[in-house]
Symmetry: C2
Subunit: 498 residues, 2 copies
């Protein structure tokens, strides 16, 4: 118990919210992984009722006074951080008028629902009608959040996903990337053009892929008494910190994606599983941000999972579960998992071209929210940037161009940078780790992953939301976020430099 009565009141309310959120997360996981189709309407109604309840709990009039009083009373550093995170959640629920929240939510649902057919039909003009509405309400949201927080409009949206980050910093980072990334992609493509890659062939039964996935999860420290692996159309990491549910999807003609997908989700999962238990019921105890969450999955997938050392470690497991074939040689697995090919679709992109997809989205959505461009302008700018950054021609191809993502349909502007920020954080973590353990790759290859997990435990997982992201990164790595580590990692992996 704190010495501040007001703070204790807040703890009571946020503990209640944590319990409601538990039900929300489990019902959401079930909806994606277990629920039969006819259960959907009742589930939707129940989850909407729960959302109303959570909103009402977080907008109860007494909380405003309790926050003000607690801020005056609390002096302890952890409690002050706890208050900061409570206030962050409180603001999201309280700063916006209910009619705007509802209008944006309805516009988003309408746009997303129609998009599912419009995308298939390449129907940009049809999409544009709903898209304009979503942008309109998101701009209103951004304006109100900007007024309340003193940030710019776009930054106010970014802060929802990456507290402490802003458009100017992202722009600076991404501009650095833009200087060397397109050239690097071309270089790597030229290099890989002469390489031979054996494609795995055969049927890989789901049960065997699952057994392989479970063994790899075990290697990565997943706690099976506090989580599960299941199947869903779109893989995700859900559930609650005490009971983390990851999913994947299997194709019997290809295990490559499912296996690395499991590594990725296990990165998310371990972060959740190792969040500090003494704060688990408070905003303070939750994962820092979308970007930091992605930095965990990308640490596992990109830094560790696709490394030559890790593939050397798990190649015998692949053989054990899926039988032997030349394509399963560690060296060949390495080639498979580092193949670079500029293409239309972000979610299918490789490690090297992925940032280009993100940079163009960041530039477009920032301009959209700041009112510098209009929804009608998007395809033209998209086409230009895709050609410039990736050499891919998307003219007239809306479905594989600016209509490919769900984020802009349902109003999640400010979210896209998280993906590449996560990749950059991950590269910086591993640069630090490599300084601490010059023999890191040898350790990985022989299955000694403890140094990695211990470092994450101490520097990221146990810190939860104790610090805003820039401070978390600086405390963990000894320096502010820098694009250098990401560049060095990519040059090392893809060109063998350094």
């Amino acid at each position: 118990m704190s010495g501040s009565a007001a703070y204790n009141t807040l703890v009571t309310t946020f503990t209640k919210l944590y319990r409601y959120q538990h039900l929300q997360m489990i019902a959401g996981w079930d909806q994606a992984a277990m629920m039969p189709s006819k259960g959907n309407d009742a589930r939707g109604a129940a989850m909407a009722e729960l959302a109303v309840l959570m909103h009402n709990t977080l907008t109860a009039p007494h909380l405003n006074g309790a926050l003000t009083a607690a801020k005056a009373e609390v002096t302890d550093g952890v409690e002050r951080a706890s208050l900061r995170e409570m206030e962050r959640q409180w603001q999201v629920a309280n700063l916006l008028p209910a009619d705007l929240v509802e209008a944006k939510s309805l516009a988003g649902s309408r746009c997303e629902h129609a998009w599912r057919t419009q995308r298939k039909a390449n129907d940009w003009q049809g999409f544009l009608v709903n898209f304009r509405e979503v942008v309109k309400y998101t701009r209103q949201e951004a304006t109100l959040l900007a007024e309340a927080t003193g940030l710019s409009k776009y930054d106010a949206l970014v802060a929802k996903y990456e507290p402490g980050m802003n458009g100017a910093t992202i722009e600076r980072m991404f501009n650095e990337l833009k200087q060397w990334l397109p050239g690097l992609i071309k270089q790597v493509q030229a290099k890989q053009a002469t390489e031979t890659v054996l494609a795995p062939t055969g049927v890989f039964p789901v049960e065997q892929q699952r057994a392989l996935g479970l063994e790899v999860m075990g290697l990565l420290g997943f706690d099976f008494e506090a989580g599960r692996l299941d199947v869903s159309t779109h893989p995700f990491c859900g559930g609650v910190a005490e009971d983390v549910r990851i999913t994947t999807r299997y194709r019997e003609d290809d295990f490559v994606q499912a296996m690395m997908g499991i590594v990725h989700e296990t990165g998310h999962a371990r972060y959740e599983q190792r969040l500090p238990r003494e704060w688990v019921h408070l905003p303070l105890g939750q994962a820092r941000s979308m970007g930091v969450h992605e930095s965990q999955s990308l640490s596992f997938e990109m830094q560790l999972g696709r490394s030559a050392a890790f593939l050397q470690l798990i190649a015998p497991l692949v053989k054990k579960h899926l039988g032997d074939q030349p394509a399963f040689a560690p060296d060949n697995l390495g080639k498979i998992y580092t193949r670079v090919k500029p293409d239309f679709i972000r979610v299918d992109a490789d490690e090297l071209t992925y940032p280009a997809h993100i940079i163009l989205r960041f530039e477009i959505e920032r301009a959209l929210i700041e009112g510098e461009i209009e929804p009608d302008d998007v395809p033209r700018i998209w086409d230009e940037k895709m050609l410039a950054y990736l050499g891919v021609d998307t003219r007239g191809n809306y479905q594989n161009g600016c209509m490919q993502d769900i984020h802009w349909t349902d109003g999640a502007y400010g979210y896209f940078p998280s993906y590449t920020l996560g990749a950059m954080y991950a590269a910086q973590y591993f640069a630090t780790l490599r300084k601490l353990y010059p023999d890191l790759d040898q350790r990985i290859a022989r299955g000694d992953l403890a140094p990695i997990f211990t470092w994450f435990e101490q520097n990221i997982w146990s810190q939860a939301s104790r610090w805003e992201t820039p401070e978390l990164i600086e405390r963990a790595t000894g320096e502010p976020l820098s694009a250098t580590h990401f560049e060095r990692h990519l040059r090392q992996r893809y060109l063998g430099e350094g």
Copy 2:
């Protein structure tokens, strides 16, 4: 919308409760079928928070006035029935003081928790300490409910599980059973002593048993777009009407129990799946009672599932999934599924001896609640009745005697009769069906189960809680509940009479 504003207010509140209950049921199913062990504390806290919320919703002060006003305003028959069912739920939450509810709940948890080890240790004296407390609080509950409802103490508890039923009627029915049941059991044992039954042998892999179970469920009309089959330690039917989750447990050396367990749970499931959708959000739209629910599972398991005709129908499926062996001949399956053997344990009892287990529990718990006997008297009476009804000696064997069930540990007095009432309802339904379809067995044998489902749809499933149980039974079968049909069914099945 009703013409009564008060009634509409109630509908709003009960719709909210229905949505909360959805979350409760899904979280409860997940806890039993999916949740890893370390998730349990957080789940318990979340479900307790939800229970508090539901209790607060149902005890909101305005509901009392709304119920009174609506009862004065509503004239429509369906709405009056709807009000009756709302009031029933309201009473359960409002008639008892919070401190008694809490004291009983704590005493029940303590007793049940200790019982799990005391039972194994055959520790009656240790058990007795907690058991006395549970009986004390249950008597207080019964006294208050009796005062409020005008029923006797035991009847007030029975009404929680079987509205409209009472101890006097149950006593009359059970006294009838007692006249012929012990003799019938002996006769059947004598007859079966000379029969040869082939035991199935081999290993029956879980996946094959599951495939068989799914096919049998399909035959029984289970809607897989509105439900699932999973595994849990204690099989149950859970979920919600729109999304029914049944479970079973498999043993690789024995498929007999799992298969019939699936048939049993499918009976529960179809009742839920076919409850009328227009009432699904109201107490009116919920299953009538524990006894009627059990009548559905026992209709499927006992009346249909263990019949010679049904076993003839599914014997080819058993062979298809588990391979062929002489034990899978329909006639032999019939012998397996109708084997009679008086024994200690209720949950393992066969169709014929099961009612004896229930009758003795009813007689003891009724006397306990009415204050005619004390907890200390239970073993002595148990031993006497087990010897009289089943010829089984339980002296000193508490763990397989009066300490075998969970019901008395956590205060669920008045529940036991539901099992045998359900068996009697089921026999009466099928007597009606056989009058309508004299060729019912031939139809079953050739897979024409539609007449059965149509009859249940019209007479039971679609009626939900429209009528109290006695009226439901009389409307469905044209006469009040009578033990005759049950006796005739048993004599026909086990002695070939009639």
